[in-house]
């Protein structure tokens, strides 16, 4: 916790009024919501992009097969242009799920864009008293960051309804494993990940709270009350559809705002890179070089190609929970502790 970030949080609260007018809770170790048991209810809501009832069927069916009940939110099938309903509809649906004691976890149906438009009008007071798992990634990074920074509650960075295979029996092994990792995480299994070592990795052992998500989304909340603090933490980032120059600029932003200097460890997930417009415009550095340049001289371990991101290989990660990252030349593991 540094002073600058603290002041940012306080001034944010002072400026905006009702939504942030609580005293920010600044957690040392976020609280872990209760794990789910058979028969518990998972709510599905769309706080960002538009999704149809049909599109959530595979997730609905499979999670029911796992033994959970499913509550489908009003926003599923609702549409306001690109959004899953108006800001008010998305807010109200999420609010109801945050407050409903019978709902034990909330799966965001898909990402896209929109969480940031409602985050400050949500009332987390009931949720903070009775935390539950919020599940999603990409645009949902906003919610993970908010829960971590302001409310001190762990959450699940994972695939959403639109990533479930239409036919579970035909799912590829990797796809099945990543979907099953959601169930493992929600039911309280200690998570463990083994990663293929990448030649650009920096070896070492780190322990810390896991935070992170989509790099562009993290950049877009910098300076806001939900901006991540990263000191002493294991940061993971992933992104899709960005040019190398844009990734370079975002890493400069992280570095220049003091978010890379005091990490415990750094995990680089999948980056689907938008190709340079022409060979004349070649950026001249690859992803690994871009990142290693920014963390040159920092002592912490770094691993590349971690299975998280906008890709099939996207395992559930518990944000706000302590993990141990071990990066060795021949083996890379991340273990929940």
């Amino acid at each position: 916790m540094n002073r600058k970030n603290f002041l940012a949080a306080v001034s944010g609260a002072a400026i905006t009024g009702p939504a942030w007018s609580h005293t920010p809770v600044l957690p040392a170790d976020p609280r872990i919501p209760p794990y789910l048991s058979l028969g518990d209810t998972i709510g599905i809501t769309s706080c960002a992009g538009y999704i149809t009832l049909q599109e959530i069927q595979p997730a609905f069916q499979l999670m029911q097969d796992w033994g959970f009940r499913i509550a489908i939110g009003d926003t599923i099938g609702k549409r306001d242009h690109t959004f899953g309903g108006t800001d008010e509809e998305r807010r109200a649906d999420m609010q109801r799920m945050l407050d409903d004691p019978s709902i034990k976890a909330i799966m965001c149906a898909r990402g896209g864009y929109g969480a940031v438009r409602i985050i400050d009008s949500l009332d987390f007071s009931t949720f903070v008293a009775h935390p539950k798992w919020v599940i999603g990634f990409s645009d949902i990074t906003v919610i993970h960051a908010q829960l971590n920074r302001i409310y001190g509650v762990a959450s699940l960075h994972a695939k959403m309804c639109n990533s479930f295979p239409n036919d579970w029996s035909k799912a590829e092994p990797e796809q099945a494993a990543t979907i099953l990792s959601i169930r493992q995480a929600l039911t309280g299994e200690k998570m463990q990940y083994t990663v293929v070592p990448h030649p650009a990795n920096h070896p070492g052992i780190a322990e810390g709270t896991l935070v992170g998500g989509n790099l562009k989304t993290l950049e877009s909340i910098a300076g806001s009350p939900s901006a991540l603090t990263t000191d002493g933490k294991i940061l993971f980032v992933e992104d899709t559809g960005e040019y190398l120059y844009s990734i370079d600029r975002m890493f400069w932003g992280l570095k220049r705002s003091g978010r890379l200097g005091n990490l415990s460890g750094l995990i680089i997930g999948g980056f689907r890179i938008k190709p340079d417009d022409s060979p004349d415009e070649a950026f001249g550095k690859n992803l690994q070089e871009i990142i290693l340049e920014k963390i040159s001289g920092y002592p912490y371990p770094v691993c590349f190609d971690f299975p998280v991101g906008h890709q099939k290989n996207n395992y559930a990660l518990k944000c706000g929970v302590r993990h141990r990252l071990q990066v060795a030349p021949d083996a890379v593991t991340l273990i929940e502790i």
Binding site: A222, G223, W252, R256
Partner: protein, 300 residues
């Protein structure tokens, strides 16, 4: 109080450097000729038309060294950036502004140069010139290019903008800050981040998706950068694109909605942009903005 670098006199020297993207030398020839016609000497840096094979006009070191030399050279009275693109974020923290602080000079550019302009204003309270760069001089008799000449010679800036239906009327006085929206949000939380309270903020951008403009406006808003403005000036947002599922608002509607709860004057379609319409604006200097029913004026 913002320091204004000395205005230029005939015979003064303007340094031309490319601190970001690569620019072929021939693309700057009209610019060099025009500056000569205006009575200035031009010192052309090696980063212009360099043998760089990458996106950049040279290595970080080459770009930083040249910019540093021009900042430190007392015989150079202004520095015109050849083009933007991307690259100043990579060198800004390597620059030593100690000599420049004592002997400020006009730095001219926009887009990626927002980083440099905002950095020197935030850290050293020195004004800069948000204006077209070398490539713009190829357009014959471009009044926006002429506006650079007037600004450098010390003519007070007075601009009129078309009346736009989304404008919010009113009058405001304040220092002008801002520039490219993407770069401005990129600088949030860094040592180059600008405070906007009581100031007139202007923004422009190019080539972004509509939802990303909304996300950046949300970022400014949630970071407390929109609620206490003296006024908002919205320039051009060119070459925008939309997602497969349309966003459902125009870019100006997005911006209007982001500031709907405040009551300061707002004007749209201000002639600052990535198109040919891009008048010079002195950043960090006080202005009076009048957004009226029939007329919009910005006066230094």
């Amino acid at each position: 109080m913002t320091k204004r670098p000395p205005y230029l006199q005939p015979g003064d020297t303007i340094g031309l450097t490319c601190p970001a993207g690569y620019l072929p030398a021939e693309r700057a020839q009209d610019c060099i000729n025009t500056l000569h016609n205006w009575g200035y000497n031009v010192m052309v840096g090696k980063t212009l038309g360099s043998d760089s094979a990458t996106y950049f006009s040279g290595t970080d070191e080459a770009r930083a060294d040249e910019l540093q030399a021009m900042l430190d050279d007392d015989s150079i009275s202004a520095i015109l950036c050849g083009r933007g693109g991307y690259g100043i974020s990579r060198i800004i923290d390597k620059m030593d502004f100690s000599r420049f602080r004592k002997k400020p000079k006009w730095i001219i550019g926009f887009s990626d140069v927002t980083v440099l302009l905002q950095h020197v204003f935030v850290n050293y309270a020195i004004a800069g010139l948000h204006a077209p760069m070398a490539g713009a001089f190829a357009v014959a008799e471009n009044p926006c290019v002429a506006s650079i000449r007037e600004a450098l010679a010390g003519t007070k800036i007075r601009l009129e903008a078309p009346v736009h239906t989304l404008n919010r009327r009113g009058e405001a006085v304040g220092e002008l800050v801002g520039g490219n929206l993407t770069l401005m949000t990129h600088l949030i939380g860094t040592a180059s981040d600008v405070k906007t309270k009581g100031r007139i903020l202007f923004i422009e951008d190019v080539g972004e998706l509509l939802y990303k403009i909304d996300r950046m406006m949300m970022q400014l808003k949630r970071g407390g950068k929109l609620d206490r403005l003296a006024a908002l000036i919205v320039g051009g947002f060119s070459d925008l694109s939309d997602t497969d599922r349309p966003y459902g608002k125009t870019v100006y509607e997005i911006i209007r909605d982001a500031v709907a709860e405040y009551d300061y004057p707002v004007c749209f379609d201000f002639p600052v942009s990535h198109t040919d319409v891009n008048y010079a604006l002195k950043l960090g200097i006080g202005y009076k903005l009048k957004v009226g029913k029939h007329k919009v004026t910005l006066e230094e």
